[in-house]
Structure formats: structure tokens, C-alpha cells
């Protein structure tokens, strides 16, 4: 465990040094260095563990009021530690330049007051990384909850580093409320686990059998961790926080923190077991609902970052759908399907961390120079920023599930898993469920393709829609490097799918055994997935070769014939303008109309009257109805109640004593009168 202790020490130490250095730019460098060093060390320690499928445990003699300071890194932790370390490293690398840029941008913050944010920001970045690592290696309920709280609360300070923008502040508050509400079921969950098993250690939980209310525990985990993972309808904080946070924080939020929600669900499953078959249905249902609804809401968003944020919820939905499918397959003793689906789950977690970070970095790079990410102001960026544009194209293709990239690689395993499941239970009712999962995934992937065609098409193709789009510049070298690295990672993952699968094999064995000791994954079941990925990589290579060949041919033809330049949309119009292009609303209009019951777009049509109607405005807006529902059901009543409760605090001692008086009389009357 020594490397992990060093990682935590580096992160906390670096954070404190950054805090001590305060307003100097060196504070950012200190935080950056400690994050990068911790990531490198963490990766070096975690990779061998993952490949061996080994677990290590340790404990520190630190006094906790309850529980113990015990740590374990098992293959499940290792799978999630990898993206956390990689993204922390990238985030740390980008931290100084991003923060300097942010403070230069804002004239109010660029003075001495602006620099004061440096130390705090560096500190919280380090603590966030440390909190994530601690959450993943804690093997004691109390320690886990402490780490979870640290990891949950710290982003509140990071979402709005300048603390100047009202929208950012709103996002930060929304995040805080969601984090607190999400933690509540977890407190109950771990309190129940501790009470029933009589211990706070995860090993004791895992060894305990005969949970009385296992179904309730599972639901608590699903709601509590689902809020962090962003399952619809618990996702309300995601679009706000992800679209407001700076680039280096967003990649941690979307790439790592959401995954910790999934880790929580999986960890609890390993502790309380596979459970009843309805757990699998619930998880599949939650995943399908989340996937469909999130991507539908994503494809009507007005801005790039919000679309990406919703797509995060969608991918978490896909992962939950596949996890539920795997649990169902285990219930039905279909090892091949279970192996494929589980492998798909873990590969998709990695894939999503890679391409979503790539896309967020790209979107932030665009926003840095144009100061907007709204589709109605962008357009034609590809010609101006080819590198960022190409990386975004690659990321969009990957997330939309276009072969040969890594997004489709993991989805292919899930498709194959569902197909194998339905084949294994051929003739039984459950086969429909697997087919249902299969088609749900197909629908989600289809809509994701639509959403990302829209994102890339409206943002990067066509003609610029405003002057802001003309101001776009390539980001700094470091950011370009990060984009290229993540793009490379996506390509590499798709080519090395079989290798990644092999690395995951020990985890698949141990995870399945932990869920259900009676269930065994035979080697034959595992080989199937490996061969699928091998063929996928070979097909990918072939497609890439064909593509390169086509490009070469095109280049040659162009060299022979020459090129002519003309404005976009020049097909027969005398005065083509950028306003003729599809807007965000019009692109998704047909789909929004078709799926109106689910999307609930509000369309304001102009009333055109007379021969010469005055200038009118048409508007399509799509408020997130599930977020509005929460507002209506919980936040609004709570606000009303709080406003009313303010009246109780009159500031008069007399009134306060009157409260005591009334309470005393009621208590006496109750104790003596009705006893």
C-alpha cells in the first residue's frame, strides 16, 4: 500500500503547499506538480495490480471516531483508479495555464484579488484528486463516507473559481444540493450495513450473509450513487456544473467523478451480493430510461458543453443497462453473456473517460477564444482550428459509436452480450429482456449519432454564424498536447481492445465470484469477447487503411485537377448567408416533434398576419422537465417552508422564550395528561 500512501501524501501535501503559497503563480505550479507526480506514481502502482488481478490491503493506525483507517486496492478499485489517475495527471498539467488564462480573461479577477484564487484553487484540485483516490481505496464504511464527502464537496469550490459569474454560482449551489441529497441515502445505506453486520469493514460486509432488507439497501445505493453518477432523473446538477466548470475541472467531473458513482453501485453489489432478479430489472430500467432521456435532452441543447453533459448521463445509462443485463445473465446462468456484458461495462467506463474528456477539452478550447459555446453563434470552426476540430471530430465519432473507434468497441461487446444472453435463454420470456436491452442500446446509440452529428456539424462545419466564431484560435500548446494525447488514447484503445480485455479478465472472474459465489465464468465464455475485439481491431485497421487510401487518391485527383473555392451553401443562391444554415433548434426540430412527449419542447410560433407582417420571433426551448419536476416537488416547497420559518426568528427574546414556554406546556401536558 506504500505507493498509495505516497500518492495521498503527495496530493494533500501539494495542496497544502499550494494553499501556503497563496496568490503567487507558484502555488498553481506546486499543485500541478503534485497532481502529475501522484498520477504517475499511482499509475505505476495500479497497472501491475490490474494485470495480475491481485489485491493489496493495509491499515493506518489513525484514530477515527468510528471505523478504522483500512485500505484495499482490488481489481475493481484498480479499474476505476486508472481513469482517475490519467485524468488527474492531465488536469494537473493543464491547471496552471488554464487558471492563468481564466484570471486574465476577467479584468475584475486579474488584479491582486484574482490571484488570491490561485492557492485555494490549487489546493482544492489536489484535495479532489486525493478524495477520489481515497474513495476508491477505502475499505471501511466510515472512511469511505469521509472520502466520499470530501470528494463530493470539493467540486463546489472548483466549479466557479473566479466566483464572479451568477450562472456559475448557481451551478455550484445546485451541485452542492445534489451532493448533499445524494449523500443522505448513502448514510442510511452504510448505517444499515454496519448495524446488521456489526462491523464497519468492507471485508466483514462481504463475509456477512442474510441481509434482512437487501432490496432496500440496493435501492439506497442506486439512488445515492446514482445521483453522483447522474442517472436521469437524478442528473439535474450535471448540465449546470459541467457546462460552467473550467476545462481542467470538467474532465475530472465527467471523466472521473461520475464513474465513482458507478464504482459505488458495483462496490455495494460486491458487498451484498447479486440479490434478487428484480435488481437486474431495476438497473436495466434505470439505465435505459437514463440513456434515452439524457440523449434526447442532449440533442436539443443550445450549447456544446450542455450537450456533452447530457451525453455523460446517457453513457452512464448505457453502462447501467449493461450492468443490469450482466446481472440478469448471471441469474439465468448465461456465462458468455455475463462475461461480454461485464467486459463491455468496464471497457465503456474507460472509453467514456477518454472520449468525453477529449470532447470537453475541445469544447472548452472553443469557448476560451470565442467566449461562447452556443451553436447559434458558432459554425465553420474546422477551417480555422483544424487540430481542435479534428480531435473533436474523432471524439464525436467515438462517442457516437462509429467504428473503428473505442466507443463502438465497448458497445459492440454489450450488443454481443445481449445477443448471447437472448440466445442462451432462447424460448424463455427473459429473452425479450435481452432483446429489449439490445434495441434500447441501438436506439440510444442512434440518437447519440444524431446528437453528435449536430454538435460537430453546427459547431465546426458550415459558415460562421457570428463574429465570435471568427475569433476562434487554436488553444495553447499544452492543451493541444492534451487533446492529441486523448485522441491518441481513443485510437489506441480501439486497436488494443483484445489486450485491454485480457487485462480485465482477472477482474471479470473476481467480480462475478463476489457477486455470486455459485457463478463461474468458464474460459470459453471469456475467449469469445477476446476474439470479437481482435476482429474489431483488424476490421478497424482495414477501414483505416481504406480511408487512408481514399484520402491519398483524393489528394492525387485534387493535385491533378486543382481546387476551386466557393462559399458554403453556394448552391444556386445569389446571396447566401450564414443564417440560411440549420440552427440548433431546426436541426433537431423533427426529432423533437416526433418525441415530443419525452422531450417536451416548448415552441413559440409567430402569428403572421396581413400582407406585410412585422418582424416576428420563433423560439424553440427545451427545459429539462425532470429538473423542473424536482424543483416543483422538493425545492419549491422547501423554499416556501424556509421562507415561512424565517418568521419564527423574530429577534425578540420574548418570542423565543414563548416558544420554550409553549413547548414546556405541551411536553408537560403530554407527559402527565396522556400517559
Amino acid at each position: 500500500m506504500l505507493p498509495y500512501y505516497c500518492v495521498l501524501l503527495l496530493l494533500f501535501g501539494g495542496g497544502l503547499i499550494s494553499l501556503a503559497l497563496g496568490s503567487r503563480a507558484a502555488s498553481l505550479r506546486a499543485a500541478s506538480f503534485s497532481m502529475c507526480a501522484a498520477s504517475a506514481l499511482g499509475l505505476a502502482a495500479t497497472l501491475p495490480l490490474l494485470l495480475d488481478g491481485a489485491s493489496i490491503s493495509g491499515a493506518l493506525p489513525l484514530p477515527l471516531p468510528l471505523g478504522a483507517c483500512s485500505f484495499t486496492v482490488d481489481p475493481l478499485s484498480a479499474v476505476f483508479l486508472l481513469p482517475v489517475f490519467v485524468l488527474s495527471g492531465i488536469s494537473g498539467l493543464l491547471l496552471p495555464s488554464r487558471m492563468l488564462l481564466l484570471c486574465q480573461e476577467n479584468p475584475v479577477a486579474s488584479g491582486s484579488a484574482g490571484n488570491a484564487h490561485y492557492g485555494k484553487h490549487g489546493f482544492f484540485c489536489c484535495v479532489l484528486s486525493a478524495g477520489m483516490v481515497l474513495t476508491l481505496i477505502a475499505s471501511d464504511a466510515v472512511l469511505f463516507l469521509i472520502a466520499w464527502e470530501v470528494m463530493s464537496l470539493v467540486p463546489f469550490f472548483l466549479i466557479s473559481p473566479r466566483d464572479k459569474d451568477a450562472a456559475e454560482r448557481h451551478a455550484a449551489w445546485m451541485y452542492l444540493v445534489a451532493a448533499h441529497l445524494g449523500a443522505l441515502p448513502l448514510l442510511y445505506l452504510f448505517a444499515a450495513l454496519t448495524t446488521e453486520s456489526g462491523s464497519t469493514g468492507f471485508f466483514a460486509f462481504a463475509a456477512f450473509e442474510g441481509w434482512r432488507n437487501a432490496g432496500l439497501l440496493f435501492l439506497l445505493a442506486l439512488v445515492g450513487f446514482g445521483t453522483k453518477a447522474g442517472l436521469v432523473p437524478l442528473h439535474a446538477w450535471i448540465p449546470e456544473a459541467h457546462s460552467c466548470a473550467p476545462a481542467h475541472v470538467t474532465i475530472l467531473l465527467s471523466g472521473a467523478i461520475l464513474k465513482l458513482g458507478l464504482y459505488g453501485i458495483m462496490r455495494v453489489l460486491t458487498l451484498i451480493g447479486l440479490g434478487d432478479v428484480w435488481w437486474a430489472y431495476a438497473l436495466m430500467g434505470a439505465g435505459a430510461f437514463s440513456g434515452i432521456l439524457a440523449i434526447l435532452l442532449g440533442l436539443v441543447q443550445p450549447g456544446m458543453k450542455r450537450t456533452l453533459a447530457y451525453s455523460s448521463s446517457e453513457n452512464i445509462g448505457i453502462i447501467c443497462l449493461a450492468l443490469g443485463g450482466a446481472m440478469l445473465a448471471m441469474h439465468l446462468q448465461a456465462p458468455t453473456a455475463a462475461a461480454l456484458l461485464l467486459a463491455g461495462v468496464f471497457l465503456h467506463i474507460w472509453s467514456h473517460a477518454a472520449f468525453k474528456s477529449l470532447l470537453f477539452l475541445g469544447a472548452n478550447a472553443v469557448k476560451d477564444s470565442t467566449h461562447t459555446d452556443a451553436f447559434r453563434l458558432l459554425g465553420g470552426l474546422q477551417k480555422r482550428i483544424p487540430l481542435t476540430g479534428s480531435c473533436m471530430a474523432l471524439g464525436s465519432a467515438a462517442i457516437a459509436g462509429i467504428p473503428p473507434l473505442n466507443g463502438f468497441m465497448s458497445e459492440l461487446l454489450i450488443y454481443a452480450g445481449f445477443a448471447a444472453g437472448s440466445h442462451a435463454v432462447h424460448g424463455r420470456e427473459e429473452a425479450f429482456l435481452f432483446w429489449g436491452g439490445f434495441f434500447m442500446l441501438g436506439a440510444i446509440a442512434g440518437m447519440a449519432l444524431f446528437a453528435f452529428t449536430r454538435l460537430f456539424g453546427l459547431g465546426f462545419l458550415g459558415a460562421p454564424r457570428s463574429d465570435a466564431a471568427l475569433e476562434v484560435r487554436e488553444p495553447c500548446r499544452l492543451m493541444q498536447g492534451a487533446l492529441l494525447f486523448l485522441a491518441g488514447l481513443c485510437v489506441l484503445m480501439s486497436l488494443c481492445g483484445a489486450l485491454l480485455y485480457t487485462a480485465l479478465t482477472p477482474l471479470l472472474h473476481s467480480f462475478a465470484r463476489r457477486l455470486s459465489p455459485a457463478f463461474f465464468l468458464p474460459d470459453g465464455a471469456l475467449e469469445f469477447g477476446s476474439s470479437i475485439l481482435l476482429y474489431y481491431a483488424l476490421t478497424g485497421l482495414a477501414i483505416t487503411a481504406l480511408f487512408s487510401l481514399a484520402l491519398l487518391l483524393r489528394k492525387r485527383v485534387v493535385a491533378v485537377n486543382g481546387t476551386a473555392q466557393s462559399p458554403t451553401w453556394d448552391c444556386g443562391y445569389t446571396a447566401p448567408s450564414a443564417r440560411m444554415q440549420y440552427s440548433g433548434g431546426s436541426f433537431s426540430h423533427s426529432l423533437a416533434l416526433l418525441l415530443r412527449p419525452l422531450i417536451r419542447s416548448r415552441i413559440t410560433k409567430p402569428a403572421i398576419q396581413g400582407l406585410f407582417p412585422a418582424e416576428q420571433e420563433a423560439r424553440i426551448s427545451t427545459p429539462d422537465w425532470s429538473a423542473l419536476l424536482w424543483e416543483k416537488l422538493i425545492f419549491h416547497p422547501v423554499e416556501l417552508l424556509s421562507d415561512y420559518a424565517k418568521g419564527l426568528q423574530a429577534g425578540l427574546v420574548n418570542i423565543y422564550i414563548l416558544y420554550i414556554f409553549i413547548t414546556l406546556i405541551l411536553a408537560l401536558a403530554w407527559a402527565l395528561g396522556w400517559s
Binding site: 420574548n654 422564550i657 401536558a669
Partner: protein, 228 residues
């Protein structure tokens, strides 16, 4: 209540009628305090109540009156009948003369509420059932009525000094609850409560003066401006 009367006679040095007269006096003084408009009169009433309460342990005690009991009773009497009223009077004198202010709850209504509290206390006492110490049943209703009267004074009065009267009357009620147990060592507990209240009265005497300096008024209304 013949059984209680018998038991009281057996336990105490005073007959039941005499005790009931004394307790009735205390309740009447509570009502007078609730009705009192002038602070100077209130201080006198508190002194009177304190004098009666101070002597009570001696009157209630059934056995031989030893030196310890007499010393303690003397101490109670000194504090309740002399020291606390003096502190109040001193504070009262230090403040500039002000016309009586309208309380939150009118004087007549306060007396009515006080009577309501007494009826409630009687009902509570009737619900209490038999107690190990029969004197306790006798003392219960007047004691609670006094506590309620004190709380009412705190809640209903506008001036900080009048609220201080409320705290003292409330303490008298708590003390009254403890008197039936005066035979035992519980009296030390009583003494500690009394000392607390005395210190509180000193502190409040100083605080009231400072409040006046800060706000140029003794109306607790003005304190509302320091809430967040």
C-alpha cells in the same frame, strides 16, 4: 384532601391549613406581580415572596430544628428577601426614570393567563397521582403556577428589568418545588440553583445598564435589530 392534610400534619411542623394559606399567598403574589405596572412595586412584591419562600424550609421541617437547617434557612432568607431585591433596586435606581411602557400582553390579560396557568398546574397536579412525599402534591400546583407566572413575565413584558423579575419569579417556582424535599440533602441543589440565579441577577444588572447605554432604552424591541 383529608389524607394529605393528615400526612402534612404528620410531616411538617405547621398544620395543613397554615401551609395552604402560605402557598395561597405565594400564588396571590404571583398574580399581583403579573398585574403590577410599576417596577418599584414589583421589586417589593419579589422581596415579599422571597421572604415567605426563605422561611418555608423552617416551617415545613418536621423534625428537630438543627443548626444546619437554621443556617441554611437564614442564608436563603438573606439572599431571597434582601440581597436579590437590593440588587434589583440598585439597578432600578441607576436607570433614568421612564414612564411605564405598554407590555406585549396587557396586565389584565396577564393575570388571566396566570390564572389559566394555575388551573393548568392544578390539573397537572391531579394527574400526578400519589407521590412518595405527600407534601410534594401540595406544593406542586403553586410551584408550577409560579414558574408559569415567571415565564409569562418574561414573555409579556417589554422592559429588560421586568424580564429579570420574570427570571427571579421562575426561580422561586423551581425553589418551591424543592422545598418539600428540604429535609434531605436536596436543599444543596436548591442552593446551587439559587446561587446561579443570583449571579445571573448580578450579571443582568450590569448588562441592563450596558443595554441602556447602547440602545438608550430598555425596550427589548430594540434587540431585534441585532439578529442576522
Amino acid at each position: 384532601m383529608p389524607d394529605i392534610a393528615l400526612a402534612t400534619a404528620a410531616l411538617s411542623g405547621l398544620n395543613a391549613d397554615g401551609l395552604q394559606v402560605i402557598l395561597g399567598l405565594i400564588v396571590i403574589s404571583d398574580m399581583c406581580l403579573l398585574a403590577a405596572e410599576r417596577q418599584r412595586f414589583s421589586i417589593r412584591l419579589i422581596a415579599l415572596q422571597g421572604a415567605i419562600l426563605g422561611l418555608l424550609p423552617l416551617l415545613v421541617h418536621s423534625g428537630e430544628k438543627d443548626a444546619r437547617l437554621i443556617a441554611i434557612t437564614a442564608l436563603f432568607f438573606l439572599i431571597k428577601a434582601a440581597l436579590l431585591p437590593l440588587v434589583l433596586r440598585r439597578t432600578y435606581k441607576k436607570l433614568p426614570p421612564q414612564p411605564p411602557s405598554r407590555p406585549y400582553l396587557g396586565h389584565s390579560l396577564s393575570v388571566l393567563a396566570g390564572l389559566g396557568g394555575f388551573v393548568f398546574s392544578l390539573w397537572l397536579g391531579s394527574r400526578l397521582g400519589d407521590t412518595a412525599n405527600p407534601l410534594f402534591s401540595l406544593f406542586f400546583a403553586p410551584a408550577f403556577a409560579t414558574i408559569f407566572a415567571g415565564l409569562l413575565l418574561i414573555v409579556a413584558r417589554r422592559r429588560a428589568l421586568s424580564q429579570m423579575f420574570g427570571y427571579l419569579v421562575m426561580e422561586n417556582g423551581i425553589y418551591l418545588l424543592g422545598v418539600p424535599m428540604a429535609q434531605h440533602d436536596a436543599i444543596w441543589l436548591e442552593l446551587s440553583v439559587l446561587l446561579d440565579i443570583m449571579v445571573a441577577a448580578f450579571v443582568m444588572g450590569i448588562a441592563v445598564r450596558h443595554i441602556h447605554l447602547a440602545f438608550h432604552s430598555m425596550d427589548v424591541d430594540h434587540f431585534a435589530c441585532i439578529k442576522d
